[in-house]
């Protein structure tokens, strides 16, 4: 845009207007912070990914960090783990949030707010605190909470977080039971925005409740669903806390996700270059997934 403006008035000498000066003054602090703590780190991450980082004089190694990454089984395993975690939790969470939001609709505003609050509260607690709590819920002794539930149904108790069979499942269950407060609230806002005439017209045609949900609510909520899907996948690919606090990536790296792998490479093994290369690959994967979703679902979605 700025380019066009300059082109249309090429003869005038370049001069800052009052608006320019005001604008730069207003954004000055923000832009300085942005340059130092966002632009510089991103550029630095790209260059570091081509280096063998050393505090005094890193050496240029070309694509070695990337090649090393692709050669390592652990990278592919953590990519697979992240993908499994995402493919299960994100759509299931969306489904739960949608159903709960639809169920909250028939109530009066006060009741709606009460339910919204109840579902939102878990999101206020920190990830560390919630991990500490869930660690005990998954306690491997017979008196661990989940094991008590299993005993109730005469199923043998499990070593939830320490067995390669159940570790990933445990993290997924935790994600699914941890409340979907913000998605529910966003869905409710979308549902409240649906014009009543749609439903009236459907009634005249004798539509059942399920038909209304299927043919009116669901399509009209599509932009919201796409938004939640994209943000959900972006967040899920960066997940770090659960694996770090609860399983440490174990057992046998069955719950090592990309976020944890990058953390370990950088801050446990001191391989900054490798970590940066993997972080950039993560960014590329996320950007790719987002683009695909826009392509597939975005044709009739306006933002």
């Amino acid at each position: 845009m700025a380019k066009n403006k300059n082109k249309s008035i090429p003869k005038k000498p370049f001069r800052f207007t009052v608006d320019d000066i005001n604008g730069y003054l207003f954004i000055a602090v923000a832009i300085i912070v942005f340059a130092f703590f966002t632009i510089y780190p991103v550029v630095s991450a790209v260059t570091t990914s081509f280096e063998n980082y050393k505090p005094f004089g890193s050496e240029w190694v070309g694509f070695k960090n990337y090649a090393d990454t692709f050669k390592k089984d652990l990278f592919w395993k953590s990519l697979k783990n992240t993908a499994v975690y995402t493919v299960v939790t994100v759509p299931c969470s969306l489904f739960i949030a949608f159903v709960v939001a639809v169920m909250i609709m028939p109530f009066k505003k006060k009741t709606q707010s009460l339910f919204k609050s109840m579902y939102y509260i878990p999101a206020v607690a920190s990830g560390v605190a919630m991990s500490v709590v869930w660690l005990w819920i998954y306690d491997s002794s017979p008196s661990g909470l989940f094991n008590q539930v299993l005993t109730l149904f005469h199923i043998p108790t499990q070593n939830w977080l320490a067995s390669s069979k159940t570790a990933m499942l445990s993290l997924i269950i935790m994600a699914l039971l941890s409340g979907h407060g913000s998605s529910i609230i966003i869905y409710i806002a979308a549902l409240l925005g649906i014009d009543n005439t749609y439903f009236e017209a459907a009634e005249i045609d004798g539509a059942t409740f399920m038909q209304k949900v299927r043919y009116i609510v669901f399509p009209l909520c599509k932009p919201t669903t796409l938004f939640l899907l994209i943000t959900g996948i972006i967040n899920s690919f960066q997940v770090f806390m659960n694996a770090y606090m609860m399983t440490g990536g174990g057992p046998d790296n069955n719950t090592t996700m990309i976020g944890l792998l990058i953390f370990n490479n950088a801050f446990k093994n001191g391989k900054y270059g490798l970590a940066c290369a993997q972080a950039i690959l993560l960014a590329v994967v996320i950007a790719g997934l987002t683009a695909i979703q826009f392509k597939v679902a975005g044709d009739d979605v306006e933002y």
């Binding site: 207003f26 923000a30 703590f37 109530f107 607690a125 409740f209 949900v213 606090m245």
Partner: protein, 288 residues
């Protein structure tokens, strides 16, 4: 209030009521499942400061004491300082975000300066970049170059104006009619004056939402404080809790007490400012 979606039994109030009651009960049950971990945390934080013999504990403790809180605060000389640190960092982050992000948001929405669209585009792109990309260079910058480990500045600076908050305020200010600003300009008001006496009073809700989200986000952050603090005296409460967890893995009640200490301030904030919390979710999302 009944939306057209639920109009089936309007003519039969009795059926209508029963149906709503059933839906309500199902919702209540699901909410209880979601809230259970929190109840578990709260209840057990009052449990005894003992290594629980594994066969003996129930869903909720049988005796209630404050011993476990004492155990948490006795764990380190700096337990109270952790809370204070978190509070200082969160407050400073909120103030600088509300001031500088809103100023930038105003400029991006209402002042026509050269390079505006390009710079705003950069900020939008930055929001898409996963935090892992910037963490390593930021760590090298703060720890190796600035030598700022264990300082408040290191804890505060990287988050002191976030792209998200600039975006949020820009979206909101865009909805304020430009005519309002133009007429003030004609009267001879400076941009600062316009911002202070016209824009800010109109934007209390969005600023409150921004402040709350930023505060909670900063309070709950673990990753960055964990990287740039190595002395217990400079830990934030989340880092302290993690340290406590790895040192006392077998003590149920003290761990729950620690989790409560880190979470309860946010619960209090939530109950005090519920409206803004709930509104904040939609302000952030639907306008995006």
């Amino acid at each position: 209030m009944a939306s057209g979606l639920y109009s089936q039994h309007l003519d039969r109030p009795y059926v209508y009521k029963i149906r709503n009651l059933i839906i309500g009960l199902v919702l209540l049950f699901c909410a209880l499942v979601v809230l259970f971990p929190l109840a578990y945390m709260l209840a057990w934080s009052f449990g005894p400061n003992l290594e629980t013999a594994s066969s003996s504990y129930h869903i909720f403790p049988t005796t209630w004491t404050l011993d476990s809180y004492k155990a948490f605060f006795d764990f380190s000389d700096y337990s109270w300082k952790w809370l204070l640190n978190s509070f200082i960092v969160a407050l400073a982050t909120v103030v600088s975000n509300v001031v500088f992000a809103s100023m930038a948001g105003y400029a991006f929405s209402k002042i026509n300066f050269k390079g505006r669209n390009f710079l705003f585009f950069m900020i939008l792109v930055a929001m898409m970049i996963p935090y892992q990309v910037t963490q390593v260079p930021l760590y090298i910058l703060f720890v190796n170059k600035f030598k700022m480990t264990n300082s408040y500045l290191a804890l505060i600076l990287p988050g002191c104006v976030t792209s998200y908050n600039i975006f949020l305020s820009k979206q909101f200010f865009s909805s304020i009619p430009t005519a309002l600003i133009e007429s003030a300009k004609v009267e001879g008001a400076s941009q600062i004056r316009i911002f202070n006496s016209i824009i800010l009073p109109l934007s209390k809700t969005v600023l409150a939402v921004m402040a709350i989200n930023t505060f909670v986000g900063s309070w709950n952050t673990f990753f960055w404080p964990f990287l740039v603090t190595s002395q217990e005296a400079m830990y934030t409460i989340q880092v302290g809790l993690k340290t406590f967890k790895f040192a006392n893995g077998t003590l149920l009640s003290p761990m729950m007490a620690g989790a409560c200490v880190s979470a309860i301030p946010m619960f209090i904030l939530f109950f005090a400012l519920q409206k803004y919390f709930l509104e904040g979710v939609t302000i952030g999302a639907v306008k995006g």
